[in-house]
């Protein structure tokens, strides 16, 4: 048995739109990842709990509600508190460039905005774990 990259795809907060998250989850599965999808309306604590129990390598947050500057830093803080800062943190959704810049200087490895090609996320993640 060999190592497989495990990624938690999560929907934080009050946001009922998960088509994007599901498309990304399916595309990552097709690239050989083990993808754990949380379902809708998860709190930052629930997301970090799930990441800890599932021992994931990556957390991908999908958020389209506009509350990303509130919820995303909170997930990051909780991860650090739990000693899980080795987990690669990425996010996608309707996140303005100015906010993405802030998030990328504070714990988020990469923010994927609208228009990202489906394969680009898997390409990015594979590159991160290539070594």
């Amino acid at each position: 048995m060999s190592k497989r990259l495990r990624i938690l795809v999560a929907k934080p907060g009050l946001d009922g739109h998960d088509r994007g998250a599901k498309v990304v989850a399916a595309s990552l599965r097709d690239r050989g990842f083990e993808v754990i999808y949380t379902g809708l309306h998860r709190t930052p604590i629930q997301i970090v709990d799930a990441a800890e129990q599932e021992d994931v390598d990556v957390i991908g947050l999908s958020i389209l509600s506009g509350s990303h500057m509130e919820l995303l830093p909170r997930v990051r803080r909780l991860l650090v508190e739990r000693g899980l800062d080795h987990v690669l943190l990425v996010a996608g959704g309707i996140i303005p460039v100015a906010d993405a810049v802030v998030l990328e200087t504070d714990g988020y490895a990469k923010i994927f905005g609208p228009g990202t090609a489906t394969g680009a996320i898997a390409d990015y993640l594979e590159a991160q774990f290539a070594s």
Binding site: M1, S2, R29, I36, T38, G39, T43, H86
Partner: protein, 325 residues
């Protein structure tokens, strides 16, 4: 941004984590087993004496029967009674890419997270039979960690995926009124491994009829051990959950008193050895790139597939030297 390199814990550190009941340690340990990490065996050796205290319940059945929903409510039922549960849910890996989409958490009641429940999604990583090769060891780890209840939920299975028996004390087969005609076809396999049969979605028509059909099939059953019960419930509506939990507990009592539990646990250990041995051998065979090359070359030469397989098997057996003295 570069990630801080992940410091892999030592066996001693993980054991310390188990002693302090740190969830992160359990999670990492399960990954070790799944990934075949170098020190996984040493870790399991150290924890082996702490296993054997948990009840292991398996939930199996066709896709969409309501296994996840039922395990969810069972976990909650036990949590309310003060018995914390660990849930290991297996979903299929793609045979083409090796990837997997593990969706059991979607159906989970989030209140469970607050009740100290541990949930682990596992991909079967190409293993047939409804579970992954690492599922048994993952259950051992949850056992050693101190969870009194462990639920193993299999991949949605058809008729012959009976490996669940090799991993649990009580195997629960979950069916729905829609399973009706299929039951006839299932007389072998799944119908033989169940210790308890649950007709879920009992709010739909036909549940009682199916219950009677199952009972009439079980009447003819030749497998050893006490006769299984058949109960109906609606996991989604929460009706009859208590009946299922009570039936599981009654089954445990019957099995313990009749001595069948010990037999079961011994069979389980043997079956697990067999599974791991076969799985390891299969992986070993295909890890040699020339095996596929040889097969292709022989095919191109016009040889018969069965003859090629027999020839290659002979070569493998010579190499591993398992022939009798």
């Amino acid at each position: 941004m570069t990630l801080p390199p992940r410091a892999e814990p030592t066996v001693a550190e993980l054991l310390e984590g188990f002693a302090e009941r740190r969830v992160g340690a359990l999670a990492r340990a399960i990954s070790w087993v799944e990934d075949g990490e170098e020190f996984a065996g040493e870790l399991l050796d150290s924890l082996y004496e702490q296993t054997g205290n948990a009840w292991r319940t398996g939930l199996t059945g066709p896709p969409g029967a309501g296994k996840s929903t039922l395990s969810d409510v069972l976990v909650r039922y036990w949590a309310e009674k003060g018995s914390q549960a660990a849930l290991i849910a297996v979903d299929p890996s793609s045979p083409f890419t090796g990837g997997a989409l593990l969706g059991d958490r979607v159906r989970m009641d989030q209140a469970l997270a607050d009740a100290g429940v541990y949930v682990r999604s596992m991909a079967n990583r190409g293993s047939l039979g409804g579970m992954s090769l690492a599922t048994g060891a993952a259950a051992d780890l949850c056992d050693a960690f101190g969870f009194p209840e462990i639920i193993l939920e299999t991949v949605g299975v058809g008729q012959a995926e009976v490996d669940i028996m090799a991993a649990v004390d009580v195997a629960v087969v979950v069916l729905t009124p829609q399973s009706g005609d299929g039951i006839q076809a299932m007389k072998a396999g799944l119908m033989e491994v169940g210790d308890l049969f649950v007709v879920n979605k009992a709010d739909c028509a036909g549940a009682d009829r199916l219950k009677h059909e199952i009972e009439s099939i079980l009447d003819l059953r030749q497998t050893p051990g006490p006769m299984p019960e058949v109960v109906t419930c609606s996991a989604k509506l929460g009706d009859g959950i208590q009946d299922v939990a009570i039936a599981i507990e009654r089954r445990r009592k019957v099995m313990t008193e009749s001595g069948f539990l010990e037999t079961r646990r011994n069979t389980r250990a043997l079956a697990r050895i067999r599974r791991l041995l076969e799985g390891g051998l299969r992986a070993e065979i295909w890890s040699h790139a020339q095996m596929e090359g040889k097969a292709k070359a022989a095919l191109a030469d016009g040889a018969r597939p069965d003859a090629i397989a027999a020839q290659l098997l002979n070569e493998v057996l010579k190499k591993v030297n398992v022939c009798d003295e």
